[in-house]
Each structure stands twice: as C-alpha cells, then as structure tokens.
Symmetry: C2
Subunit: 451 residues, 2 copies
C-alpha cells in the first residue's frame, strides 16, 4: 500500500506526552483558580456563521480568518473568545443572571503567516465579568488578584501586573484640547517602552500635530515618577482640569487601594500611564502582565474594562471587564526560556505492576486496590524481557515498580522498587501504599514553572 | 447601528451555565478515571492537511467532512480522534514508549444533515493502548473495567457492556466455508436485535447465498443460551473446527475471566455473539455498551481490538485496543431521558459575600481567606437593593450568603445564611467555615447521573 507521509501543519502545536502533561497542569490550575473566584465554565462552538462572527467586520482579523462554504452555509472558525461571548450573552440574555462571570479556555484560529512562536491554532484562557447596564469598579480591582493568583500558582514569581485607566489618558488629552486626536496619541505613547521618549515626541509633533509644549506635558505626565504612591499623589494634583480625567484618577485610586486588599503585593503591580492597549474597545482600567526577566516577549496576560460587550448584536448595554491569556504562546515561551519545571518529570502513572506469575488475577486485584486509593497504575503484561519492562518504567519516569510473584503472593507482601533511589523492599500492601503516597505527595509540591 | 441577529449554528451544542457545569463534571470524571489507568492526556490539532486526514479516503465520511482551501493549503477539520492518533503515533513513533496509552477528549466535526440529537460538532472521549508489533490480550480485558468505572463514577448503574470477538465470528464462518462472505454475514447478524432472526435468515439466504443449513447453524451459534458461563462452555464444544475460531474462543475466555478480576461484576457484562461492529478495522475483542432502560439509543461506548492503527502512514505494525464515548450525544440523551441529576443544582460559587460597609476592605479580606480554604467565592458589590442580591444568589443556586456589616466587623463574626433552610447565624470565621465545609461536602456526594 502506498503510504501518506504523516505530518502536522505548521503553526499548530502538537506536544509529546510529557510536555502535554505539563500543559494539562497549567489548564488544571487555570480552571481551579477561575472557579475559586466564582467564574462558571463556558463552551461555545469553534464554528460560527460568518456574518455573526464578523459582525464587527474589517481589518486584519478578517484576512486571517478560516472561512469557508459548506452547502449553503458561510462558516468561520472563531479567532478569539470575546466575539463568541458577546454572541452568547446577547443570544441567551434572558436566561443569564448578571453580573455574569464566566471563564472559557478553548482553541482559536488565525491563518497568520507562520513563524517561530506564532500559532495558527492556539488556546486562549479568558475570564470576563459582564454587568447588565452597570458594573461596579470593584470588579476592576479583583481582576489583577486573579492574574496574581494564577501565575503564582503555576510557580511564576518574577512578573509585574501593570495597570492604567483609559479615562485618565483620554481625560488628560482632553484637558490639553487634544480630544479628537486621543486615539492616535494613545497608540503613540503605547510605544514608549519600545522606541523611547524622543521618538515618541517626534511622532507626536510630526504626525499628530501636537505642539512642543503639549508633547512635553504628555511626556511629563506619562512618566510621572515615584511608583504607585508617587504617581497617585501626583495625579491628585492634576484634578479639576477635566471631568473624565477626574473620574479616571478616582477609579485608578480605588483599584490600586483594593488590589492590596485582594492580596496583590506592591512588588507585583505598578501603575504605568503609558499603557493604552490599542483597541478602542476599552474604556476604563487596562492591564498588562510582563515577565521581569523577559520583557521582550510582551504581555502574557492583558485585558481591561469595556462598556459595550455586544453592541453589534443588541441594544442592551453590557459593560464588562476581562482578561485573556494566550496559553499556547505562553507555554512555547516558557519552554523556550527554560522556565518549565522538568523535575520531577511528568509521568502517566504512579506505579507499574510487573506480574511474575502466569495467573494474572492477583496482579489485577492489586492494581484495582491501588486505583481505589487514587493511585494511577499500569499493569505491564507484555511478553517482554524483565529488563525491557524496567526500561519502560524508566523512560516514562514512572516512580515505582511493583513485582508480584509466587513468593510475594504466598507471604502476602508486594516487592516495591523506587526507581530514583534503587531502593527495594518487600512489605505488606499498607506499608507499600504509605511509602508511595509519601513520595508522590512530595512530588506534587513541584510547580509547573521554575524560574 | 444596525444589529446582526445573534445565533448559534444548528447541530452545535451550546449550553447554559448550569448545564455546562454538569457537562464539565462528566469531563472531570473522564479525565480522572482515564488517569487512574495510566493513560496520558493527548491533544492534536482540529485542523489537518486533507491528504493526511483522508489518507484512508472514500465513503460517507468524506462527504461529511468540513474541508476548505486557505492560501495553498487544502485543510480539513478532524471527524474523529482515531485518524489523528494514527498520524501522531506514525509521526512521533521514535519518541514514544510502547505500549502507548493515551486518552484524548476533544471536539470532532461532521457536516451531517441536521436532525434532533445529531451533532455537527461533538466531543469524543477516546482511550487507546497501542503496542509496537504486539499487544497482550490482557489489555482487551482491562478496557471493560474502565468503561465500568467511568459510568458508575458518573452515577449510572443500569447498563451492560457487551463483548464479542471478531475472530470467533470469522473463524466460525470459515468453518462453514463462508470465509469470503464473512464481512457481509457479519453486517447482517449485527442487525439481529433490530430486525429479528427471521429477517436475518432471509437476508442470509437471499443476499449472501448462504444455504438453509448454514443459516440455521449461524443462528444457533449467535444465539447460544446460558449467559456468559453457558456460552463459554458451549463454545468449547465448537473447538477444533478452525484455528482462528479456536484462537477467538481462547481470547474470549481469557477476557471474560480477567474482567471479573478487574472488577466488572457479572451483572454488568455479557458475551453477545451478534456484535460485530461494522468496521473491518477490528480484529479481536469488540465492545458495545447499552443502557438497559433505553436500548433504542444504541451503544454509548464502543470500540475494540485492531491490528493496524496506522497502515496508511507507516509499515510499522501497530496493534491496539480502544474505545470511544460520543460525549455530546450521551449528554443530550441523558438530559432528554431526565437522567441528569439536578439536585443539588450546579452553581458557580459556594458563597456570596454581601458587604454592608462603604469600605470594602474587610469583605475583600474575608473573600481572600475563604478562597485560601478552597471555597469558591463571589463578592456582590453592585449598587443593587438587598433583595436583588439575595435573588441573585437564589437564581444561581449559591448555597450560602455572608453578610459583613459594621457590627460583624466589630464583633469579629460573620453572618452566614444558608438559602435552602433560611437558617441564619452570626458566628466567628472558623465556625462559619466549618458549617459551610460540612454542607458543601454533603452536596459533593451527588452524582452527575441519577436513574
């Protein structure tokens, strides 16, 4: 028979089992953390009607989308989880209870040009809190605490959550008389970290028609010194110039104050007035999260407050706040930078049983008993040499091998070998179980990420 | 702005939050059970190159597939998890350790004609054990115990796992001189339950050119009486007629014997010599699982032993055994038949905190403290009337509401209200935590399915 060469499309992540186990641990931590904050899991189709998915239309997104006809239907694969959420909330509005807190972890698709670290299929992990007509500012303070807990639960320590408030920027620009150029100016100052203040000044002067005095005021404003306390106190001095600016300053103050109560240590967040997040979508607090040692990879978790989740589908005003983690890219980066914890190595089983008798009954009973105690167990009954079976356990990093022969069965013991130490004992079931549980509990301590 | 009507494509399941929570519990049980048996989680792309996905080609599948061009690429959405597994094992053969045990739970796509209970996007939950060149029969006995544990963990009791062995059928047909019509005859007897013995006889005589004597022998064989023990003992009497038949009988005997050791009670399995599973793919033990009270919905978990997983991609012989659960359809059927347990109702949080002070600091600290104990907590700080906040908890079935006002803060207590009973107490944190943990532990006892 002629063979087809097996291959996986470029831009599609496909992991070997041990890497997959690490990825699954990240998924598990995300689900668990989001649940602690009262978010309900949600799942929506990967395929939607194109007119629904592209209601907003236009732009780069539309070019990247996987879109096709099937029969009469014009279909498209989702390119993010926000548009499906908007559709979901608009469609099921009458059956939902607000504020509606949902998390969704799922694959999204973008037919981009393939390059290293860019994916065409990737997981996003999103949380959003959607209000019906209104949503309290406190929600904007809770979000960073979820970011903090998520990453520290994974073992990440050296990161910073940077926050800003779009009202502060818009209001300040308005106070300078630049309200009709606010979007443009925001996109420019968003590049400060990348291109430096003089480049920003040049673009503001040359392309946005900002006066030298205004440019200086903008640069002074966005680089206010003194950390969180210093910036907040300096901002207080700007009050009274513009109502939107005042509101933004109040919101920023409230968020910063409550973030501490929510458990985010000062070391892990900063007010950064240069953060604008490109999208016009955002209207209040915005977030970015950066790795202190790898600023070059950009934000690993971003989001913000918006006023109209579903304006393309409904007249209902649905304000919300949300964040998104690009999980596939994050995993790629962590691996690339050597930040994935390889110790202890992930393994598909806690124990491998090697039956040494023709009758497999006692070995099967032993496996069933261990599983009843929550241990992950494999039986190895293949016709292979003893050494090959030990190699199998070694290669899969299974920590324990259990031998069960005539002697053990007669003496009502099991022979337990810990591969890492080579230690081997013949002990009754309960003693073996206790030993294994202790070692496995210690292995559990390891985090997914190790800096 | 003109609005686009939000809608979800027909044939695509999209659940409301409470139903989604039930579905997630099923997913959780599947992951947990598969892990206990030493299966590693695997994830493969939803999109593959069409030539890879359709290597086998032809048939009904190809018409149903979602296939499209993007740039130069001819792409297709996966229609099952078996072909991607075959590709994966052939592609990564050198980096895998055999026997390779993997589970995969993911969405697959078939552009079928839409009808009630048929889905175009649906979850499959698959496990497979793949050997390199060989795979011991013991694996075929372990699989039913995984089916048994999976469904009983969900709360299902009234089901039966029916097993057969393709070698028994093929061998028996060969002993009658019908080896070149084996596939045809198998497909006919597979319909016995649906059309009855006389219809089967008629088809065998009219369409397959089987003699009346042969047809009688076939009918006698596939309806051997006496249950597992009776059938096995009767089969022993058929030995010596054909080597394949003999091998099949031995295998069936081994599987039946070890299934008991693996913990499948006699009440939950049966040998059924009519089961053939249409596909030529299977070569040994085959499985079907039916609900005793709803035979009309057919098998909810099927699979079997095969000899060549990846013959379209590689010359390597990769025998395996696996099963698949069509999870989306199963969920639909369970709901349709009223078998989903609605008590206690699923909820997104264990406790809702209602701060009664302007300063939210103490309420936030309380939420953080409860979350540290693993409780799922929401804060309700919206500007809503008290009654509306209680209604919110009621609608979401959140079991506990906690009030925190000036009095409570001064007296270092919390006021805890259990909505189901109306009971309300003001007690210190530890006492409140204990009460909540006890009630929540009791709620945890409920299974997903209730017959």
């Amino acid at each position: 028979m002629e063979k087809i060469k097996p291959r996986t499309l470029s831009g599609f992540m496909e992991l070997l089992p041990q890497k997959q186990a690490q990825f699954e641990r990240m998924l598990h931590i995300l689900r668990q953390t989001y649940a602690l904050y009262g978010f309900a899991p949600l799942d929506t189709p990967v395929l939607e009607a194109s007119e629904v998915l592209l209601a907003k239309g236009g732009g780069e997104t539309e070019k990247q989308i996987y879109r096709f006809q099937k029969g009469d239907a014009d279909l498209a694969m989702r390119f993010d989880l926000t548009v499906p959420l908007a559709k979901y909330v608009a469609l099921h509005y009458g059956q939902l209870t607000f504020p509606f807190r949902r998390y969704q972890i799922g694959k999204v698709y973008r037919g981009e040009r393939a390059q290293r670290g860019r994916f065409r299929e990737f997981y996003q992990a999103d949380i959003d809190i959607i209000g019906d007509g209104q949503l309290d500012i406190i929600n904007e303070a809770e979000i960073p605490s979820i970011i903090y807990r998520t990453f520290t639960s994974m073992g990440l320590q050296r990161f910073k959550i940077r926050i800003n408030n779009r009202k502060v920027l818009s209001g300040f620009f308005a106070s300078l008389g630049l309200q009709d150029r606010a979007g443009e100016v925001m996109r420019t100052i968003d590049k400060l970290e990348k291109i430096g203040p003089e480049q920003v000044r040049a673009i503001l002067l040359d392309e946005s028609g900002v006066s030298p005095e205004q440019a200086q005021q903008i640069l002074d404003f966005i680089t206010l010194p003194g950390g969180t306390a210093g910036i907040l106190s300096a901002l207080a001095g700007y009050k009274g110039r513009d109502p939107l600016l005042d509101q933004g300053i109040d919101e920023l103050q409230t968020v910063a104050r409550y973030m501490g109560d929510f458990g985010v240590p000062d070391s892990h967040f900063a007010i950064d007035l240069t953060i604008a997040r490109g999208l016009d979508y955002y209207t209040g607090t915005v977030y970015e999260t950066t790795l202190l040692d790898h600023p070059e990879i950009g934000s690993i978790c971003s989001g913000g407050r918006y006023d109209n989740l579903a304006e393309y589908y409904t007249d209902k005003q649905l304000p919300g706040v949300g964040i998104s983690i690009g999980l596939t890219r994050l995993f790629f980066v962590l691996e690339d930078k050597g930040l994935l914890n390889e110790e202890p190595p992930a393994c598909p089983a806690d124990a491998l049983i090697l039956p040494m008798t023709d009758d497999l009954g006692p070995a099967i009973a032993l496996a069933t008993r261990l599983r009843a105690h929550g241990l992950r167990v494999q039986l190895h009954c293949e016709k292979k040499k003893f050494k090959a079976k030990i190699t199998y356990a070694d290669r899969l990093h299974i920590p324990f091998v259990i031998f069960l022969g005539e002697d053990e069965i007669r003496q009502e013991v099991v022979t337990l070998k810990q591969l890492a130490t080579g230690e081997q004992v013949s002990v009754p079931f309960d003693a073996a179980l206790e030993t294994m549980q202790a070692v496995l509990a210690a292995r559990e301590q390891g985090t997914v990420i190790r800096e």
